[in-house]
Subunit: 213 residues, 4 copies
DNA sequence: GATGAATGAGGATTCATTCAT
DNA sequence: GATGAATGAATCCTCATTCAT
C-alpha cells in the first residue's frame, strides 16, 4: 500500500462528493483499510488534500511554463496553454475538479500557499493576453482580463464532462478548444498554427484510474 | 424574520464554504437566531438548499425561454441566452455558485428533480446550437456540443469573479461575453446585432445583499 | 375543545407508544391544535399524565372499595374485585395500559403520590387474600402474596388483548376471569356465587373512543 | 470492554426507565465510557435493543420447545412451560421486562421479526391448551384462549416483583405458579406430577448482575 | 382560546484524531 | 504497517416550554 493509492482514493471521493462531505473512514473503506491506518500516510485529512493539490498545481504551473516557452508569439503561446490545460483536465478530470473546487476547504496557511501557486499559473495567462494585445496579435477590442477569465473557465469545464470512453479523443478536444480560444481573440483556426502540435498531457500520480463500464 | 432572510444567509454561507461545510448553527449565528428556530422555516438543511436551488433554476429556465423567444434567429438567440445567463450570474453571484456546485449535495430524490430542471434549461442552448449550425448562421466547423459546453461554462465562471463594485458594469460584462460567444461560433460583434439590447437581469429573493467594504 | 379531549388524545398516544416516546406536538396534531395551545389545558406534559393516572387510579380504588363492600365473605369479595378490575380494564384498555406502564415516567413527587393510590388499592386485595386464608375460604396451601400478585397481573393483562369488537363481551370476560381466580384459591365456579352479578364498569372520561375498522 | 457489558448496562436502564426514556449517554455513563465508544459495539440504539430482545426471545422459544418435549401429556407440558417461563423471568427479571414492554419501541422491520419470534413461542402454549382440552385433561369449561392469555400474563408478572434476595427461591416460585396454572385448568397440585422436576433456568448473557443492597 | 416565533437543553449519531497493542 | 478501542467535539435535529400577539 503506497501513499499514491491513498491519494487516488481521496481524489476520487473528494471529486465526487467534495472534501467536507468525505469522511476519512470512507477513504479507508475504499482502500479496505482501517481509518487509523491512513494516519501512517498522512498527517491529517487536510494534509492529504494539500498533497494532492500541491502536486497538481505544481504540475499545472510547470506545464504552463513549458507551453509558453514553445513559442515567442503570444497567439501560439495561448494555443499551447489551452492545449496543455485542456489536456491535463481531460486526462485528470477528478484531480482537476479537486483543484478547481477545494481551495476554499483549506485552512488559511495552506490556502495562501496553494493560492499563490495558482496565481503564479494564472499570471502566465495574463502575460500572454497582455502581450497578445500590445503586439497586435489579438483583436484590438479584446478585454484582456475578461477574455482570460472566460478562456480559463471554459477550459476548466472540460473536467466536468469529458469521459475517456466518449466520442472524442483528448487531441480532438484540445484542437476544438484551441480553435475556440483563438476565435475569442480574433484568430481563426489557431490549431493549425501550432507548429509543435498539441501538448501531450501527463497522467498525474494522484489521479485514480476509473474503469469505464 | 422571514424565510427569505434565512435563505439569503444560507446562500451566503453555502456559496462561501459549501453546503457540507456549513453548519446549521452558523446560519443561525449569522441571523442572530437559535439554530432550533431555523426549523420553523425549513424542514431540514437539505430542504433549505432545495428551496434555494429550485427558485434559482426555475428563474434561469424561465429567463432562458424568454431569451430564446426574443428572436427567431439562432445567432441572436445565442446572444440573448448569453446576455441573460451572464446577467443573472453577475447580479446573483452567490446563488449562481450554489446552483453550479451543490447539485451533488442533494439526496437522490431531490437530485433528480433539480437536475431535470437544469437539463431543461440546457436543452434550450442545445437547440440553439443545433439550429445555428443547420441554418448556417454558425461557422460550419463548429462542434455544437463542445461549443455549447464551453460557452455555458465560461458564462458560469462570471459568478466566481464578478464584483458589483468592480471596474465593469453588468451591461459591459454582458456585451463582452456576448461578443466572445459570437466569435466562438464565427460571428463578430454579435452584441451589435441584439436589436432589443441586453437582458436586464432580476435580483433573486434568495441572493444576499453583501455590502462592499 | 375541552381538557377531556386532550386527555383522550394523550391516553391514546401514551398507550400506543409510551409516555417518553410521545411528543407534545403529536398530541396537538391529533387534536388539530398547535402544541402551544395544549398549555392552556395543562401545566406540563407530566401534569397531563398525572391527571390521567390520578383519575384512573382513584376510580380503580373507589371501585375496589365498592366491590369489597358487596359482601362480607372473602371469596365473594375476590370475585367482585376481579369482576370490577377486569371490567374496567376491558372497557378502558388504553387508560389501563397507561396506569400499568407509566408510573415509572413520573418525577419522584408525583410518583409517590400515585404509587400510594395504587398501593391503597392493592391493599384491598391483600386483605381479602389474608382473610380468605384465615377464614378458611381459600385453599389452605395458597400463598397469599403470590396468588394475589398472580391474579392482579393476569387481570391487568386483559387490557393488552381485549377488543370491544372481539368474540367475547365484557361480561363473558368477567365471568371467565372470576372463575379462573376462584380456582386459583381452590373454589370452582366462583362466578355462580356472586349474588349481585358482575360489576358494571364505568367508561372513564379519559379513555378515548377508538373506532373499530 | 465487551459487547456483553454494553448489553447488560442497556438492559438495566431499559428495564428501569424504558427504551425511549434511556439516553445513549446514560448507558455510556454507567459503563464509564464515552457515548461515541458505544457505537463500536452497536450500530444504533435500536440495534442494541434488537440484539437483546432477539437473544432473549430465542432463548425463550428454545426453552419452551424443550419444556413441551419433556412429556406427551398436555397437563405436564403446561406445568413445564410455566416452570420454564417463570424460572426464566425470575432469574432474568430485567431482560424479561424488556421483552414484555419494548416490542413497541421497534421500527416496523425489526418489530415484525421479533414479533414473529414471540408468536412462535406463544403458539407452543396455544397448542398445549388446545390438546389439553381435546384430550380431556383440562376442565371442560376452560376457555382455551382466555386461560392461555391469563396464565402467560400472570407468569410475565413475576419479572415485576421477584427479587433474588426475597423470601422465596426460584424453585418455590416455580412450584407455586405451576400449581396455580394447574388449578386454572382444573388440576390440583400439578407440581407433584412433574416427574422431571422443575426446569432449571439459564441466566442470559444480557441480564445484568445487580447487587442487592 | 389559540398560535407562530423563539429558545436552551438535549436527542442520537458521526467526526477526525490518538494511542496501546 | 496495521488495527480496535477510545474520545471530545461537532453534526443535524427534536424536545418541552414560553411568550407576545
Amino acid at each position: 500500500m503506497r501513499i499514491q493509492k491513498v491519494q487516488q482514493a481521496a481524489v476520487l471521493l473528494f471529486a465526487e462528493r467534495g472534501f467536507a462531505a468525505t469522511g476519512i473512514r470512507e477513504i479507508g473503506r475504499k482502500l479496505e483499510l482501517n481509518s487509523a491506518t491512513l494516519y501512517h500516510y498522512t498527517g491529517s485529512k487536510e494534509d492529504l488534500l494539500v498533497g494532492i493539490m500541491r502536486l497538481a498545481l505544481e504540475n499545472l504551473s510547470t506545464m504552463g511554463q513549458s507551453a509558453v516557452a514553445r513559442s515567442a508569439r503570444p497567439i501560439e503561446q495561448l494555443g499551447y496553454l489551452v492545449s496543455a490545460h485542456v489536456g491535463l483536465a481531460a486526462l485528470n478530470p477528478l484531480t482537476s475538479k479537486v483543484i478547481d473546487h477545494e481551495l476554499r476547504s483549506l485552512a488559511p496557511r495552506n490556502y495562501e500557499t496553494l493560492l499563490a501557486l495558482r496565481d503564479e499559473y494564472e499570471a502566465l495567462w495574463a502575460e500572454v493576453f497582455e502581450r497578445g494585445l500590445s503586439v497586435g496579435e489579438f483583436a484590438k477590442d479584446t478585454d484582456a482580463k475578461v477574455a482570460r477569465l472566460a478562456v480559463i473557465e471554459m477550459c476548466n469545464g472540460v473536467a466536468n464532462w469529458f469521459h475517456a470512453d466518449g466520442p472524442l479523443t483528448i487531441i480532438e478536444i484540445q484542437e476544438r478548444f484551441v480553435n475556440l480560444a483563438g476565435r475569442m481573440v480574433g484568430v481563426d483556426r489557431l490549431s493549425d498554427q501550432l507548429s509543435e502540435g498539441h501538448v501531450t498531457p501527463v497522467k498525474l500520480d494522484v489521479e485514480p484510474t476509473v474503469w469505464a463500464g
